[in-house]
Symmetry: C2
Subunit: 194 residues, 2 copies
């Protein structure tokens, strides 16, 4: 396993000594996953955050009519977890699943708390990571309230350029909140406009 990507992720916001790096990495668990493996199921208590070393995961909910709604994708170099369940220690409604063969570095809530105590600069690191995540969700909520489906698709392309041709269309449809058929029409319209 290669944790270089994870160390680079840390170094975007904090500087760790060699010793701190070693201690920090010792708190992570490496896991290789196959496509469509489940990392978290709704109704479970989320006990860990995942950092994506390779591949791509998605976080989604299933409504009472059985429709899936994708809350976020997590390609390489992204973090994913059910924050509600993580901090409340209650069962959440998020499902987390791989979309292709993936490798993740898992940090349990317990180890994260150890990390905060032993290397307090991680308070800053996660404060910044969560700020960015908050901004992404605020913008997405606003987009859902105020943009047309066409514009939401364009935003998706801007946010996740690496995913456009990598993941099934029906997942993109579940993210922007339209049917796969409607997404097809949007894409055709956009191709024509070019």
């Amino acid at each position: 396993m290669d944790y270089t990507l994870l160390l680079n992720n840390f170094s975007k916001h904090i500087t760790l000594t060699k010793k701190e790096q070693e201690f920090t990495l010792s708190l992570f668990d490496y896991k290789k996953l196959h496509s469509k493996d489940t990392l978290l199921e709704q109704g479970d208590i989320c006990k860990q955050s995942a950092f994506v070393l390779n591949g791509c995961l998605r976080g989604f909910t299933i409504d009472s009519n059985g429709f899936e709604h994708v809350l976020s994708f997590a390609p390489k170099d992204w973090w994913i977890g059910d924050m509600y369940s993580l901090i409340s220690k209650k069962p959440g409604n998020l499902n987390i699943e791989t979309m292709m063969d993936s490798e993740v570095a898992l940090l349990s809530k317990k180890n994260q708390d150890i990390l905060y105590d032993r290397v307090p600069k991680f308070e800053r690191f996660f404060r910044i990571i969560i700020e960015k995540s908050l901004v992404a969700f605020q913008q997405r909520l606003n987009d859902n309230l105020s943009l047309t489906a066409q514009d939401r698709y364009l935003k998706f392309c801007k946010t996740y350029p690496q995913l456009i041709n990598e993941i099934p269309q029906k997942q993109i449809a579940a993210y922007i909140g339209v049917t796969p058929e409607f997404l097809s029409k949007l894409r055709a319209k956009q191709a024509k406009a070019k």
Copy 2:
């Protein structure tokens, strides 16, 4: 001005010495606002976070058709700011306005950074505040994707019980994403069901 509420807000997550309390409060600016005063206008760069000591503020965007969309309400004891603009130092699209006469304690980004350096336990404080805010936005996004308008109204009542009869119906409508007329029908239906 009375900062007791603010000190109590801190003490939910961190413990400050008397000296730290004094230093921290010295970084805040007290402001008395009238109803409908503007604290932040879209297109401006947000340079401060506001803690609500009294009254209620709302954060909203205006779409290209002129419709307002309420992203969040901030009653007493809540924080509000445009996180995107605050951290990117770029113009944001959020408007922040008072909904009634209000008092706020303002913390500029500059002073917040001083606070992080001088009283590092505020990294933890704001990490936790932002985690909670992230959970609220994630849940709201999911609600908007998967719940009916009736259920979104019920969620609003649960999230902001103190606001139901305090703020204009059209603001609640702009929050749950329906017209004021449709909200009237929802409320009538709910009253009937009781």
